[in-house]
């Protein structure tokens, strides 16, 4: 008679009882299987020759210390050589996934091309093929909207950082969630099957400063795993091709920064000397010859023309001379004829003398007029005085005009209608335009220059400088009165009389000067003298 028969059945079951119930339930379900798959180790005491080999031999326990064999229950304790080798995976159709390596860090649905067939060109499809058509409008619009919304969110986040603090947004905090936990039972959740959770968003402190420091620079994370290379490796370069791309070092004709000593042939290598023969066109020679010939011909022509002209001129001159001679002759004849007429009338000598004088004067005047007409270079007296230099005027004693005493202005100032930038003359250095008129005119200078009067040296010598100069009181070598006349000295050295007459001989030789005709030279001098006298 146990206590349990009296008491009513318990409503709540304890943990141990629950476990026992579960175990019995499991055992009952397992008993329908044909073969029991559990392999239990033999109980303690019956393990003499038993060695656990497989994982199931351990049951749900650990290693057996009394069995002296290395045991790894639950694979614990084995030295694992960590390798990053991927386990071979197989896809749904049973084919090995060889691109598992290429897809290591990425999601399953990322597009990665790694098969050979991805590299092969596909069949050329018709244009209307549905595969090649763009997705329809609605799909595109939907995508657009989604993208726009996402981008807006991003932009607003970025801009919000710059915007000032506003009032906190009110979020409707009334979300209720019904939750069914996976661990069910009487002990959990007081036996209830589901739970209701009230979800509220935590209020953000509007005045809170930023929580995290974003001014730190951290190194970039690793990039995404590289995509498989879908082309054949670059072709190997042949030696010939490599030689084609060889660039020779630069040897400048001007710079040598490191001061290298480079042989001359390398220095001039880039010049291209000796690589090309210089060809000169033969037309150059032809041109030179043609020019030479033309030059010669031109010179000849010019000479000929000059000669012809000279001849013509000479002829003309002769003709003119003839004419003049004739005219002169005629005039002479006329004059002689007139004179002959004049001689016949007027018998008085005085009248004749007066006539002669008048005649001479007229002739002189005519002569002058003729000269001035024929030889205009010979200037008249007036003209000569005008062109004289200051020093000449002074020497001749010409009268000088008076200067005006009033102030003189630069005549260039008056009557100007030129602009503001005129007068500079472009910065020319050579012109000398400081004054507009000569200083005092050439004629003025002469009168302003110092002219000593006759008695300039009055204070020095007294009044009569001339009488003083002509006095003959002071004479060198004057003897006393009554003294003997010594030999008159001709020069500082006096020679004695020479017996042989060499002096004479030498003097004569000097006079003639090598010319045999002594008489002509003497005559020429006399002739010139005469001519001069006659003229004046």
């Amino acid at each position: 008679m146990s206590l349990a028969s009296f008491l009513p059945a318990p409503t709540q079951l304890s943990q141990d009882q629950l476990e026992a119930e579960e175990r019995s339930r499991v055992q009952r379900s397992q008993s329908t299987a044909l073969v029991s798959t559990r392999r239990e180790p033999p109980p303690y005491g019956f393990r003499k020759s038993w060695v656990p080999r497989a994982l199931e031999d351990f049951g749900d326990g650990g290693a057996f210390p009394e069995i002296h064999v290395a045991q790894f229950p639950l694979e614990m304790g084995r030295k694992k050589r960590t390798s990053n080798a991927l386990a071979v995976q197989v896809d749904a159709e049973g084919k090995i996934k060889y691109d598992a390596i290429a897809r290591q860090g990425q999601s399953k649905d990322k597009v990665i091309f790694s098969k050979y067939t991805d590299m092969l060109p596909k069949e050329v499809l018709n244009e209307d093929d549905p595969e090649l058509q763009k997705p329809d409008e609605e799909a595109v619009n939907e995508l657009t909207e989604k993208t726009r919304a996402a981008l807006e969110k991003q932009v607003s986040q970025k801009i919000a950082a710059a915007m000032p603090v506003r009032a906190a947004d009110k979020l409707a905090p009334a979300q209720y969630i019904r939750y069914t936990p996976s661990q069910q039972g009487l002990a959990f959740n007081s036996g209830a099957k589901q739970r209701v959770i009230r979800m509220v968003e935590m209020q953000k402190d509007a005045m809170e400063p930023p929580r995290f420091k974003i001014n730190k620079k951290i190194p970039r994370g690793p990039p995404s795993p590289p995509a498989p290379v879908m082309h054949s490796p670059s072709r190997k370069m042949t030696v010939k091709e490599q030689q084609e791309w060889k660039i020779p070092p630069c040897i400048s004709n001007w710079k040598n920064a490191k001061g290298y000593t480079i042989p001359l042939d390398k220095r001039l290598a880039a010049d291209g000397r000796g690589l090309q023969t210089v060809h000169i066109n033969e037309n150059f020679a032809k041109l030179a010859e043609a020019l030479y010939i033309a030059d010669r011909k031109a010179r000849e022509a010019v000479e000929m023309r000059a000669q012809v002209e000279k001849k013509m001129a000479q002829k003309e001159k002769e003709k003119k001379e003839e004419k003049l001679r004739e005219l002169a002759k005629m005039a002479r004849d006329r004059r002689a004829g007139i004179k002959a007429h004049g001689d016949k009338g007027g018998e008085d000598t005085e009248v004749r003398e007066r006539d002669e004088i008048r005649h001479e004067r007229r002739k002189e005047r005519q002569h002058d007029r003729n000269i001035s007409r024929a030889a205009p270079d010979k200037r008249s007296k007036l003209q000569r005085d005008q062109d004289r230099d200051i020093s000449e005027l002074i020497a001749l004693g010409q009268p000088n005009p008076r200067t005006s005493s009033e102030a003189q202005y630069d005549q260039r100032l008056f009557n100007q209608n030129k602009g503001m930038d005129s007068g500079f003359a472009g910065g020319e250095d050579e012109i000398y335009n400081v004054y507009d008129q000569p200083f005092r005119g050439g004629r003025d200078m002469a009168q302003n220059i110092y002219r000593p009067s006759k008695n300039a040296d009055k204070d020095m010598y007294g009044d009569d400088l001339d009488t003083l100069m002509q006095s003959s009181r002071f004479v060198p070598d004057r003897e006393f009165s009554g003294a003997d006349h010594g030999p008159r000295r001709d020069g500082p050295v006096q020679f004695e009389e020479d017996p042989f007459g060499l002096d004479k001989f030498l003097e004569e030789a000097k006079q003639h000067g090598g010319s045999k005709r002594a008489s002509t030279s003497g005559r020429s001098k006399d002739y010139d003298h005469e001519k001069k006298r006659r003229k004046e």
Binding site: K110, P121, V124, A150
Partner: protein, 462 residues
């Protein structure tokens, strides 16, 4: 069993062989060329056994009426090949049963089953046939009809206005010039950049012009006032190209600092920095369908980006040399990329490789595509190749002469673009001119025949 031995005659091996030969000869000499005649009974038995052994579970299935009709009419291939030779000369195996699949033994043949083609035809598994090359579409050749000079430096970029009235060019002389499309006269010159202007784009949604240059500047010009109104600051090095998103107010620029940046037009904020390339990003294109941003770089890869997350969606590493040019097909869901080794065509959205267009062995600076399927590739040595988009047939090669006064080495094409009517091709060149091409109207299929010699073995080198 030893009793039989007595009956067997002992012959020599030679005799035995000879006898066997003779018998064979007698049996087959008359019809040695003929195939072995099928014995009906043995065949029936064989078929019955086979059916029961292998197809027993499906024998009860109903006949597919549609399958029977479809067979002889056309092969269900999406390739549009009407001339595809159906294997009609197959022997008609006698099938017992009314079903397309062999049915239970003993059922008599019917006429319907006799008409059947091979069963595996209807199941859609076509036998692998020799790849037949499709014939390329004929396009009239293009000829130069206008040369516009006015820039003082290389003309680096071109964009055409959505209304097709004018087009903009950016040049190495730091100016942006706007030209009238119909007459080719200069309308406006904009200055503001301090270095070469590498990219220009005209917005379709607002009266803005965007330009980017080697001076790290990205400028937004208001075309109503002809002034700069916004700068997008953030690039660390020369900006090489830019593109506008067709539906969202977003600008994408790519630069020598190996990034592409996504800017919000109105707020000038740098929304995403698309990093991942390891060398200069040379070109970028935007579209409204996925992938929304495609970039090509000097590290020989093309990346397709997810604009929402700002992450790479796929990386295409098929090119061996720098990718300097990208173009999106206006009608199809495909795009093409150009590099000195090949021009490759890809399918959106994942970038599946379609085909190679090889033959233009020069640095390809630019690509442009027509709605008619004309692909233009412009190279750094001044040559232009015209391709048929679908087949990859190069139908024309143009090398325009340089402007008088320029050296012959100064020929190169930096940008080319079709106008909005797609009848004029405008190219920006290195001899400081802009050249306009149009289709030659006088050419016909006979005067310029299609000389299509496809390489059967397309699996050459990649």
């Amino acid at each position: 069993m030893f009793v039989l031995l007595q009956d067997v005659q002992k012959h020599s091996v030679h005799t035995l062989v000879f006898r066997s030969l003779k018998r064979t000869h007698d049996m087959f000499v008359s019809d040695h060329a003929k195939a072995v005649a099928l014995d009906d009974q043995s065949y029936k038995m064989k078929m019955a056994v086979k059916m029961r052994a292998e197809y027993k579970p499906v024998l009860h299935m109903p006949v597919l009426k549609e399958g029977r009709e479809r067979g002889p009419l056309h092969a269900s291939d999406p390739y549009g090949q009407l001339g595809y030779p159906l294997p009609g000369a197959l022997p008609h195996y006698l099938v017992t049963g009314t079903h397309p699949y062999p049915s239970a033994p003993g059922v008599a043949l019917t006429a319907e089953t006799q008409m059947q083609k091979m069963p595996f035809l209807n199941s859609g598994l076509l036998p692998r046939k020799a790849p037949t090359m499709p014939k390329p579409q004929w396009h009239p050749p293009w000829k130069l009809y206008r040369v516009i000079s006015g820039h003082l430096g290389w003309v680096r970029s071109i964009a055409v206005e959505p209304g097709n009235q004018w087009f903009v060019t950016g040049s190495a002389d730091r100016t942006i010039k706007i030209w009238d499309l119909a007459s080719g006269k200069l309308k406006l010159s904009l200055t503001g950049h301090i270095s070469t202007v590498r990219g220009v784009a005209v917005s379709t949604r607002s009266p803005y012009l965007f330009s980017c240059g080697e001076d790290k500047q990205v400028k937004c010009w208001d075309l109503e006032y002809n002034k700069v109104i916004r700068h997008y600051h953030g690039h660390l090095s020369a900006v090489y190209d830019l593109d506008l998103h067709p539906t969202i107010d977003v600008l994408v620029t790519c630069s020598r600092d190996a990034t592409a940046r996504v800017w919000d037009i109105r707020s000038k904020a740098n929304v995403h920095t698309l990093s991942g390339h390891t060398n200069t990003v040379a070109t970028v294109k935007c579209q409204s369908a996925e992938p929304q941003v495609v970039t090509g770089s000097h590290d020989t890869t093309i990346r397709l980006w997810d604009l929402v997350a700002g992450k790479t969606r796929a990386t295409l590493t098929n090119h061996k040399k720098s990718v300097r040019a990208l173009v999106l097909h206006p009608r199809q869901y495909t795009f093409a990329s150009g590099s000195p080794d090949n021009i490759k065509q890809w399918k959106c959205p994942d970038g599946n490789f379609i085909q190679n267009l090889s033959g233009h062995n020069a640095i390809i600076n630019t690509l442009a595509v027509n709605s008619d399927g004309v692909l233009v590739s412009g190279a750094d040595n001044g040559t232009i190749h015209m391709w048929d988009w679908r087949t990859g047939y190069n139908f024309q090669r143009i090398h325009a002469a340089v402007q008088p006064g320029s050296l012959d080495s100064e020929s190169g094409i930096f940008a080319c673009v079709f106008d909005q009517s797609e009848s004029r091709l405008i190219t920006a060149e290195a001899d400081k001119t802009i050249k306009v091409y149009k289709e030659d109207d006088t050419a016909t299929e006979e005067s310029h025949p299609v000389n299509w010699k496809p390489e059967i073995l397309k699996r050459k080198r990649f």
